[in-house]
Amino acid sequence: MSDLDKFLEKIKNNVKIEPKDWMPDGYRKHLQRQMSQHAHSEIIGMQPEGNWITRAPSLRAKVILLAKIQDEAGHGQYLYSAAETLGKSRDEYIHELQTRKAKYSSIFNYPTLTWADMGAVGWLVDGAAIVNQVSLQKTSYGPYSRAMVRICKEESFHQRQGYEIMSQMAFGTAEQKEMAQDALNRFWWPSIMMFGPHDADSARSGDAMKWGIKVESNDELRQRFIDKTVQQAEIIGLTIPDPDLKWNEEKGSYDFGKMDWDEFWQVVKGNGPCNDQRINHHIKAHEEGTWVREAAIAYAKKNN
């Protein structure tokens, strides 16, 4: 049996691929790209939420938000850690992020303008991420799958945190309700586009499915997210900003309107409202930390 046949046999039988196993070059590259993109998203995603930590409106809200962002840092770390098993260092991955060779989820290139955005980010952005991550627990690469299991376990409170903020505001003063609806209006479309292009337009999906990296398609995951979110919006009296959204009895799920893929690709290309801000922030923190890392390395060399 050839290496490739053995590899495909494992995929077929749901046997996880481990770091030292033989794997096709394309598989390794695809994973490096997808996992680092996933890690970068967690790390860059700290910024739009971090924007509100010092302004959180109650001490409870403050510690919850801070603990949630801390989890995101942790999840970024788990994912870098898993991605490093593919023979590329975290330094290299970070370099790719900072030179814009690597991407991250484009949702984080939108600004968080009001406190209600902390609700929308938790409810919709984390909600969408969780649908994707639950599915990825079954991914074929062992370290990625294990990181996903751990992340899903820890993320269970994230979406509830966001939804709690949204519902408090939706049932609050007129101004609060307006902020909540405005946040939903701004975050709805970018959130459902987080699942990526339609299956028919997704160039790399084929390989990812064949190799068991992805087990469900972009459109399947997007549909699942929409189906579970509509009712959540209804009970807190908010309106999803899509006039074409309606229940389709026949297929047992919602029909929804057209997504603006031009905007999506513009943001991916770097032209979103916050792309420059996010990357510059990352580079600045990294550069300001250089002397600290150098000192720690020098000390460790002398003393370990």
Partner: protein, 94 residues
């Protein structure tokens, strides 16, 4: 060592009496920092009673291509498993 420090593998004992289990890795410059980073990273939800860290480069792993020669010789030694033995009917607590 690159700019992010060494990779340290982290093993956590979740309760007294249990074995330490691999949970992932952290970057750190030196062993004290590795231990602290592992604590902050992997026990945020009171998951542990004891942490081990070991430098990734110091861990020696078997090679998958040698799966056969490495593990198969024990395949046919089924007499090492308790289920191999036939106990007389009615014998208890054995």
């Amino acid at each position: 060592m690159d700019n992010q420090g060494d990779i340290w593998e982290v093993f956590i004992q979740s309760k007294p009496g249990l074995a330490h289990k691999h949970v992932g890795s952290v970057h750190a410059m030196g062993k004290e920092m590795a231990l602290q980073n592992a604590r902050d990273m992997y026990t945020r939800r009171q998951e542990g009673t004891c942490i081990w860290v070991a430098k990734h480069e110091d861990i020696v792993a078997s090679v998958p291509e040698e799966d056969g020669s490495f593990f198969e010789p024990s395949n046919d030694k089924i007499y090492r498993h308790a289920t191999h033995y036939v106990m007389p009917e009615g014998a208890k607590n054995i």
